[in-house]
Symmetry: none
Subunit: 206 residues, 4 copies
DNA sequence: ATTTAATCGAGACGGTACGTCGCGTCTTTTG
DNA sequence: CAAAAGACGCGACGTACCGTCTCGATTAAAT
């Protein structure tokens, strides 16, 4: 009953304990010493785990961190109840968008999220495969909420019918993203409010 | 007038030959094998230079690459004459912006620029000091061109007077930047044209 | 029962294969290019071994060479049977000593032994700790053979009873050692024969 | 009026000031940090001298140290008057030799001499060319004094006529040298006295 | 309840690159 | 033109991690 050597580890025997310890160690190290100084050996030692246990289940440091961060996000979402699964619809699109963006501003400043998400974003810029997974698993689901809210606004006539919501949302989301990623400007409530106003009414005189 | 101990190499004795060779080697290696596999040893060996000569003048791999890339940009700008120092003003703001953004789309696809600028952008996400230098020395000067063009448009009445041009430009520039940085969507002329239209006229019905 | 932090590699997991390869490489390099041009990197590369494997088990180049040379000596001794474990006793002390010293003269000229033993001797002159180990593990056991032979000679009356054998042996051994170490004179059978004669009968007339 | 490039510096223009400073720095450094950690750069910097000034006049670190040490010995000899230029002849050979050896024991323990002479001896073991110069310029002149004293003793009948003085002196000088060089035993007045007794009267009963 | 086979902690191994030190050469400026 | 200063190409240092590879010792599924 020989087995294909060096492949397909048996998931049913996997140690849950080790997995959690590795997530915790990875996130803690990235927060404490930064992503570049976080090493597989460091994670293993801090998690009280053999290196092979990491290499058996993940293919790279970025991979570990991505999973750890996804796990963290899931936990956070679960803990916070249903809050982020939809953008509130009070009938006032501008107000609703400003609220959500203000919450995002707060989140971007939270140190617990900042270190790992910056690290993953940076890695994703240069590593397309990881970048696409980062987007597909974390970013896109959140952007989809804006698409939904904008669609609803189109039905009430708050947004022109011809507008593509997937592009439209970038008018106020991407500027915030770029300021955060590249330090191209300060990030304040006033700024995001302005973005929403500009995006909704345009730059040209009416 | 004593000196900072054990430091401050004499700039006047610096070898111009080595500096050029290091720039060339760094850019070539990043393009050929990617940023993470580009090593100081590799740059030194390819440039026919001692490692110490790199460490004497730069503090890190990212530092070398940033200077090399700045130098490359300067050269490119010089070679191209005065073209990129201002955004053309034909009186039609939308057309002018679409033209410039289409040129940017082409540039973002140019492999000679893509590898190093992606690498620097990624490094800058995680290394604030470098990120700010990247922005100040490369990005901001280019964004300033948009500010100038938008100001001109305000004077002709194409743009509302109350609009802040520095923020306004982000409505069409940041979405393109984010798609390029994070692979959040395809990058086409049609896309950038749409961005300009949305940004100028807003999402809300008029 | 805690451990000294970050140290004490596990001897039982040590690779015998690597140890042998390192001994061989070290001795070969010292013989071929000389001690100063023998480098840890050179030994590692020639032995097909990582540098860390050397640093894990030895503290310096001299340390490696000393162990390699001890190993070589043990092997040589084993290969040669019991020959060098005792100085023959034919009843004629002078003849016996002359024979052993002639053999030593031959050995000192053997290139396989000369390079490493000179290197170790030189290092020992300047590095007391290594010097003492060199003496304790290599030199002293051989000198002890002379002590034994001289003791036997005292019992047969060939040597005066009051003589201290440990000092006595230096009268003929040290001159040879010094000529070899410091190039203070030629090394021949005639010379060592003379030393034995002078030492046994003294310089003063009888 | 071109000159053969890179050869034959002009001795008449040599800076005496620099030479002295280099000697002093070399001896001080060897005494303070040991020979291996003494570097050309260190000597130059301590002497307030350019590296080239050292390379112009000496071929190696050992070379500098040998000259510095010879200079030191000459100075010491001059300062001490005529003392070491001959071994006293009181008519009692044994007493005279014991006295000189006791003085040597003292000298070997003097830290000012020990560091550089050990370093040079070690270098000489492994570097035949330097070793021979060390012997010719420092050791042999001193051994010649013993030759002279032993010749005188042969004329008075204290030493047998057939004895070769150059070999005879090694019976008591070499053991002391070896104990000092290789740490093969303690160095005391008693020890050197014993050596003289054994050497003069031999080991065999009379 | 026992067997049994894969996972686990541990860490030695062959490597690559790091950032530093010193070598010996070369060049520039000063006395 | 020697001398100080020190940048340069180079090579080795000793260290940190990489990813692979054994080793017993659990440990959970299949007997």
């Amino acid at each position: 009953m020989a087995q294909n050597p060096s492949s397909a580890p048996d998931t049913s025997r996997r140690s849950e304990r080790s997995r959690r310890a590795i997530y915790d160690a990875a996130l803690a190290l990235v927060a404490e010493v930064g992503y570049p100084k976080t090493t597989i050996e460091g994670i293993a030692s801090r998690a009280g785990v053999g290196k092979q246990t990491i290499y058996r289940w993940w293919s790279s440091k970025a991979d570990v961190l991505l999973e750890a961060f996804l796990d963290l996000s899931d936990q956070a979402a679960e803990a916070a109840g249903q809050k982020p699964y939809t953008i509130p619809d009070t009938g006032d699109l501008a107000a609703d968008l400003k609220n959500v963006l203000r919450a995002t501003v707060d989140e971007l400043g939270d140190p617990a999220f900042e270190a790992p998400s910056r690290a993953l974003a940076a890695e994703g810029v240069v590593n397309e495969e990881l970048g696409r997974r980062f987007v597909a698993q974390l970013l896109e689901p959140q952007l989809q909420l804006y698409v939904d809210r904008l669609r609803a606004a189109q039905e009430t006539g708050e947004v022109r019918p011809g507008i593509d919501p997937r592009i439209a949302l970038e008018l106020f989301v991407s500027p915030l993203a770029q300021r955060w990623l590249q330090y191209t400007g300060p990030i304040t409530y006033e700024y995001t409010d302005t973005l929403v106003d500009y995006a909704l009414h345009g730059l040209a005189p009416r």
